[in-house]
């Protein structure tokens, strides 16, 4: 019971924090403030994904597939000339790719 509450708390705090960061980033862009929080988002994504994979016992292949799909999507945007959105997607793809590689190495050693 306590474990469930703790898990829920972690998830709520995680999403609340992520949402705050995204909102700040969004409003900052809208009002023209110079905010430098994008780096935090990738860390959040990484640790969020670590937690998700750990909780759901997901294999490394899943991370690779997401990374490759996002890679293709990013490439599509870049070819169309939308570099900014393409770069953001590519960074997300790279987070999944790095995680996939690390995860695979651990799987291999097991």
């Amino acid at each position: 019971m306590e474990e469930k509450i703790l898990k829920k708390a972690i998830v709520i705090v995680y999403f609340a924090f992520s949402a705050t960061v995204i909102l700040i980033q969004f409003f900052a862009g809208f009002f023209g403030f110079e905010v430098h929080l994008s780096g935090v988002l990738y860390w959040l994504l990484f640790f969020g994904w670590v937690y998700f994979v750990w909780q759901n016992k997901i294999e490394s292949s899943f991370s690779f597939i997401i990374a490759l799909s996002l890679f293709a999507l990013s490439a599509f945007f870049v070819i169309l000339g939308m570099r900014t959105i393409g770069e953001i997607i590519m960074r997300v793809s790279f987070v999944f790719w790095i995680f996939g590689i690390l995860h695979w190495f651990i799987e291999l050693k097991k």
Binding site: I24, A28, F33, E34, V35, H36, L37, S38, G39, L41, Y42, W43, L45, F46, S61, F64, I65, A67, L68, F71, A72, S74, A75, V78, I79, L80, G81, R83, G86, E87, M90, R91, V92, S93, F94, V95, W97, I98, G100, I101, W104, F105, L108, K109
Partner: protein, 1110 residues
């Protein structure tokens, strides 16, 4: 074996064809930082063979000696009459062949079952890709090219050893590095090399989890043999690291903040993942030659993504294969490192970069880590193609896929290589080749000077920065190349070598002035070479014709003698009075605190008349501090800005600081503070962070000012003032640093402090006192109060007195002052007084002089009334002084039409697109009031005149056409502005110094000296008395230079004449002194160790090969 031989032959044949295309024109190539090495390889070899190079005023070679064996080989070819372009072609062929064949072998080693055609494809991929194109071949640095060739070869040998578990490969790996020592003449590549090999060992051990002993001993043996075989240059590297030259270099030119700033800027430009993953160099694609546009076409971008996609897909699919995993991790790691401190996880990169100083050599991560990406991507691409093809059943489709990729590799990525476009750059929309033809007259001049005097220096004019553009038939653009063109060493550029930069700046600043002749004796120059064949505007050099005019004038006056003139070059011999030998002894000695020979000499003209030594006071041993006469120059000269700021109204000052709408007493104030925290530019540019901190200080100041005006709760104000005091105290070290800089950012930030001080003083805030104290301590303002100057002004000279004693104030004879103050107290008028002597104690002192503004500000341009518009722009001509000088522009303006106009100051040496000074005037809130404009600029060295221009502001306007294409063009904005009271004034603070009342008895000592080689001189001294004298040695100061007498080192080694070595000598009599560069002894010994160990290594290798133990 025959199969391997056939493959090698085929690759060699293919490489030969490409190299033939590059050199069919029969000229050498040269550009960028590599200079013109192949013009006279033996000259370059002579410069780099020893621990000390005679280049410029001399310089330590350090790790650069690693290039000596390769240069020696080139010089041997040259001696045997092989044309220089053939030597260069053979060198390129060697590198091309080694690189491509090594990748072939590496791929074969990792994937033994792969068909031969894929091995060729991997080789083609390694050679023809954007990183190899831009970072290696277009970059045109020979050590980069060598490292590019070495890396796959070394990786192949090392991995083969790890797999077969044979130490034979450890020996082979180490031996190979000797033949590629040129590649190792860069610290970065040594770090990369060993990081890669360490990764290989760790990976194979972690996969294996057995044979730990072998892996450790294999790696250690490789490292040991590598160190032994390369000991000769490794010793020089460490010797340089621990030398004074290195620490001075680091202190003067490098800071972690600066490096971090460079890293962030490069990461932002080149580190986008969408570009890195396509191997693309964004800046080159945007600003490079026109032919690179092909790589921005959507089809090419698609195929590039396809290639990376295939590589990633193969890593994913075949990750169980340990070789794929080895390459996959390395590929990911390379991409991660190449993007620098960009997200995601750029913080990790930045952490290591900031905390491990030696890693700051990776300021350009895209360029450096790109080398690691290639040997991993090439085999991965080959296996990817194999995997794709295996999945397809139709033979025709298989062929189409393979041919399509080959066409892309050869026809698109390889196109610049096959056509020679890789060796081109674009200048003003004209495509230019790296091909260079040096005019014949250079050889003629070189031979003439060599015959006259093989060992004295040359002064080459015009003199500018590190880069030069020689306007020859086949032009050269790159680093200044006088050291390639002439056997004699020369002062021909201004570059960031400690001590040399101080001297060469002084030379550059005075190249139009006759004063330059007074610098010649100190640099041991017997000839001035004039070069008229440079594109002076492109590099902001002085106009060669104006320099020639001056040289001819001085020849007419008998100060120089023209010895030779041929087309665009001329040689002038310096008169005997202005030539001193490289070694001399003198009792005419003066110590000073600043590297400025001409200013010192202006107050002491006899220094130029006889051989003399100007000693750097910081390097003077304590025993001599009270013996030698001092000339103390002010550490700072200024006219107090406070007077100027006091004129501003509160509104003016508030407008110049940050806008504040909410005070700390407001309920929602905390939200603004949160916003400030979020906005802190963390992890990025430290200069931005500093600007941000100053901005916040300004905000707090405005808040305090407004709270005091609004008379809010005194407790709140006191609390905020305490906090503000603490913030100022924290920033004090930074303010001290800023006070020493002379750039626009520092000026602006310091001005910010003055605004805050003035504002807070008006509301009687105690924070004003804190700011004032910091400004005084940083010598930015005066600590004493003076009577109101009325229409006049004060000039403040801040001095730091090294020793108690009597000092005379020396100033130009024409200088008229109204009153003199020392440390706030009036002193007698000095102009007509015979006794100008004052007793001053050790420490800071402040000389204040009340003068008319005209004493330091001279009007050069005056215009009372002007009407300027788009149709009628105005250009005002200004004659500049011969040496760089600061000018102040002032005028009032009122717009009658439009809102904006552009201001420029274009010197005669500036290109139109890059004027020295640019600014704008704008209409304030659509009002028609008169506004005031003030601006400052400092003229460049070599500039003799310029135009102040007021014209319409050009703006870029973009329109979207049919929702698809965007077309942009420049539009000149319409305007009309009235201008009155326009003045451009030259600001020259009268050169005022303090001279101690000490003299040294003059001696009649003499020396005879002999140069054995560039690192060893012998001197016979004949000294009459025991008084201190200076033995001057006009080579660049370095702690490695020692003077020995009777086997004992002389202790008092000092910095003299801004750059040179000097020894304080007391002992009288006739005796011999040896002057030698100590690291040369180490080089000689380690060369022997390396030579013998290499011979043993080769014999052992041959023995093992013979016994087939590999």
């Amino acid at each position: 074996m025959m199969k391997y031989f056939r493959n090698a032959l085929l690759i060699l044949f293919f490489s030969s064809i490409i190299i033939s295309v590059w050199f069919f024109h029969g000229s050498i190539m040269g550009t960028g930082e590599s200079g013109l090495l192949f013009y006279k390889p033996h000259v370059i070899y002579e410069l780099f063979k020893d621990a000390w190079s005679r280049i410029y005023l001399g310089n330590v070679n350090g790790i650069n000696v690693a290039s000596a064996p390769t240069l020696f080989l080139f010089s041997v070819f040259e001696t045997y009459g092989v044309p220089n372009f053939i030597i260069q072609a053979l060198f390129f062929l060697f590198l091309f062949f080694i690189a491509s064949y090594s990748v072939f072998l590496l791929t074969k080693e990792l994937f033994p079952k792969l068909e031969t055609k894929y091995l060729y494809i991997s080789a083609i991929f390694y050679v023809f890709n954007p990183i190899s194109l831009i970072n290696v071949w277009n970059r045109f640095l020979y050590n980069y090219m060598s490292f590019w060739a070495l890396l796959p070869l070394l990786l192949w040998l090392f991995i083969k050893g790890l797999k077969t578990k044979k130490y034979f490969y450890s020996l082979s790996t180490a031996l190979v590095t000797i033949f590629f020592s040129f590649a190792l003449s860069s610290t970065v590549f040594n770090i990369l090399l060993w990081a890669l090999l360490l990764y290989a060992v760790l990976f194979f051990f972690l996969i294996d989890l057995k044979n730990l002993k072998f892996y450790i001993s294999y790696f250690c043996l490789s490292l040991l043999l590598y160190s032994l075989f390369n000991l000769w240059w490794i010793s020089q590297f460490f010797n340089f690291i621990f030398s004074s030259s290195f620490s001075t270099n680091v202190d003067k030119f490098f800071t972690t903040e600066g490096n971090l700033s460079g890293l962030s800027s490069i990461s932002q430009r080149l580190g986008s993942l969408i570009d890195v993953l396509r191997f693309s160099h964004t800046t080159f694609l945007n600003d490079g030659p026109s032919w690179v546009r092909i790589y921005t076409s959507p089809l090419v971008v698609f195929i590039e993504f396809l290639i990376t996609g295939l590589i990633l897909w193969t890593i994913y699919k075949l990750k169980s294969n340990k070789n794929i995993l080895f390459l996959g991790i390395l590929f990911t790691l390379s991409i991660f490192l190449m993007k620098g401190n960009n997200p995601p996880f750029g913080e990790i990169f930045q952490f290591f970069f900031e905390h491990f100083t030696f890693l700051q050599v990776f300021r350009n991560p895209f360029e450096k880590f790109g080398f690691l990406l290639l040997p991993t991507a090439a085999p991965l691409f080959a296996i990817s193609l194999d995997q794709i093809v295996k999945k397809i059943k139709s033979e025709q489709a298989k062929k189409i896929i393979i041919y399509s990729f080959c066409i892309f590799l050869l026809g698109i990525w390889g196109l610049p290589f096959l056509t020679g476009l890789v060796f081109t750059y674009q200048n003003e929309n004209v495509l230019k080749s790296f091909r260079v033809s040096v005019p014949e007259y250079y050889s003629k001049v070189d031979n003439f000077i060599k015959k006259q005097t093989p060992d004295t220096r040359l002064l080459i004019l015009p003199l500018g920065g590190e880069g030069i553009t020689q306007a020859w038939q086949n032009p050269y653009s790159g680093v200044e190349i006088s050291s390639n063109l002439f056997h004699n060493s020369s002062v021909s550029l201004n570059t960031t070598i400690p001590f040399f930069d101080d001297f060469s700046s002084e030379v550059a600043n005075n190249q139009l002035s006759k004063n330059i002749l007074n610098l010649l004796p100190f640099m041991n120059a017997q000839f001035i070479v004039w070069r008229g064949d440079i594109d002076f505007k492109q590099r902001k050099f002085a106009d060669p014709e104006k320099i020639k005019q001056r040289l001819d004038e001085w020849s007419t006056e008998g100060l120089l003698t023209k010895k030779l003139e041929d087309k665009k070059i001329a040689v002038y011999q310096v008169s005997k009075n202005n030539f001193w030998p490289k070694l001399y002894i003198t009792s005419s000695v003066l110590t000073t605190n600043k590297s400025d020979i001409l200013s010192v000499g202006m107050h002491n003209p006899q220094l130029f008349a006889n051989k003399s030594a100007i000693v750097d006071s910081q390097s003077l041993p304590p025993d001599y501090k009270n013996l030698l006469p001092d000339l103390i120059m002010p550490s700072r000269v200024y006219s107090p800005s406070l007077k100027e700021f006091q004129k501003y109204s509160d509104e003016d000052l508030l407008a110049r600081l940050f806008y504040v709408n909410h005070l700390p007493t407001d309920r929602l104030y905390f939200l603004y503070r949160i916003k400030e925290v979020i906005e802190i530019p963390f992890g990025n540019d430290p200069i931005n962070q500093l600007i941000y901190s100053f901005g916040l200080l300004g905000k707090r100041t405005v808040e305090i000012y407004k709270m005091r005006k609004a008379k809010v709760d005194a407790k709140v104000i006191t609390e905020y003032e305490k906090m503000q005091n603490n913030e100022f105290k924290k920033l004090t070290p930074k303010i001290f640093e800023l006070s020493k800089n002379n750039d626009q950012i520092s000026d602006t930030l310091i001005t910010f402090l003055f605004y805050q001080y003035t504002l807070l003083q008006r509301v009687n805030s105690p924070v004003a006192e804190t700011i004032h104290k910091i400004l005084v301590d940083a010598q930015l303002t005066t600590q004493y109060s003076f009577p109101s100057p009325g229409k006049d002004g004060y000039l403040i000279y801040a001095f730091n007195i090294p020793n108690n004693g009597n000092y005379s104030i020396e100033f130009p004879p024409t200088f008229k002052a109204k009153k003199w103050y020392m440390d706030g107290k009036v002193i007698a008028s000095l102009e007509n007084s015979d006794n100008k002597s004052l007793y001053l104690s050790t420490g800071p002192h402040e000389l204040a002089i009340l003068v008319q503004e005209s004493a330091y500000k001279v009007s050069n341009v005056v215009e009372n009334q002007l009407l300027v518009s788009k149709k009628n722009p105005k250009s005002l001509y200004l004659n500049l002084s011969d040496t760089p000088s600061t000018y102040e522009i002032n005028f009032d303006f009122r717009f009658t039409k439009g809102n904006i106009a552009k201001l420029e100051f274009l010197q005669d040496i500036d290109e139109k697109k890059s004027p020295l000074y640019e600014n704008q005037i704008t209409r304030y809130k659509k009002q028609n009031k008169w506004n005031h404009m003030q601006g400052k600029f400092t003229s460049s060295s070599g500039a003799s005149n310029g135009n102040f221009i007021i014209k319409s502001n050009s703006e870029k306007v973009c329109n979207m056409l049919v929702f698809i294409t965007i077309r942009c063009y420049n539009v000149d904005r319409d305007f009309e502005v009235e201008i009155k009271n326009l003045t451009i004034k030259q600001i020259t603070y009268p050169d005022t110094v303090l001279i101690s009342d000490k003299t040294l008895p003059s001696n009649q000592s003499s020396i005879k000296w002999n140069k054995i080689n560039d690192t060893f001189y012998t001197v016979i001294i004949n000294k009459q008395q025991n008084n201190p004298e200076v033995l001057a040695f006009s080579e660049l100061f370095n702690s490695g230079w020692v003077a020995e007498s009777d086997g004992k080192q002389l202790q008092n080694h000092i910095l003299i004449n801004t750059f040179a070595n000097g020894w304080l000598i007391d002992k009288s009599g006739n005796y011999k002194i040896d002057i030698k560069f100590l690291p040369q002894n180490i080089l000689d010994k380690t060369r022997v160790v390396s030579l013998y160990s290499t011979l043993v290594g080769i014999i052992l290798l041959l023995l093992l090969l013979w016994k087939k133990k590999y």
